[in-house]
Symmetry: C2
Subunit: 127 residues, 2 copies
């Protein structure tokens, strides 16, 4: 089940991040990046990702996600599939329920790509 992500971002260990804002992107990089941004370009998927990522234990059951939306269960499942194919989340069946969790690599990659040179990290407000 967790075998079908498109491995959309090279997850390169080569230091840090391809500069989006510091050098022109070549077409191939742009295509790969656009897939992930497109996955984030829907309010339902953003909220799903947010709910998954902000879960204390790191995992959340579909049955806890669905009631938060005014949409049919198949539609939620569809959006979760797109997030999974974008490499943003993964899931595992555990008995009757399916649990989803965040794949931090892809999100970190995006954050890096969008960080302008010289811009400090977005440190959360808890010193």
């Amino acid at each position: 089940m967790s075998k079908q992500e498109l491995v959309v971002l090279g997850q390169d260990e080569s230091g840090c991040c391809p500069p989006l804002l510091a050098a022109p992107l070549d077409e191939e990089q742009a295509v790969e990046l656009a897939k992930v941004f497109k996955a984030l370009g829907d309010p339902v998927r953003l909220r799903l990702l947010s709910m998954i990522a902000s879960r204390e234990g790191g995992e959340i059951c579909v049955c806890d996600l669905t009631p938060a939306f005014d949409l049919s269960q198949p539609t939620i499942s569809h959006h979760l599939k797109l997030l999974r194919q974008a490499g943003l989340i993964d899931c595992e069946r555990r008995g009757t329920w399916v649990y989803y969790w965040l794949l931090p690599g892809t999100v970190d990659k995006l954050a890096g790509v969008l960080t302008r040179p010289g811009q400090p990290a977005a440190s959360e407000g808890s010193p």
Copy 2:
């Protein structure tokens, strides 16, 4: 001309950034964020943004953007319009030519939203 952005992100000065990955997003925030991510969800627009942002002087003429793509001039103009409506760039006519530049606020906002708590800034690789 530079008057029609949707002012899509509140550009709030309230410290830093709404946590996308630390707390569930409410619907309104999700809708606003999704507009910007959707604008980034196209390879042509990503490359356009990248070319604009990485320009040394901070500005670039449309006549320098168009030839880099295998698309018609109106198509490029259309994509630039979407980036502008998303609050990512702005433009100004200067004689015959139109110049575009990056609006750093929106990009910074996205980077902040995608940065996980505890994740350091993406420092560029030039020590």
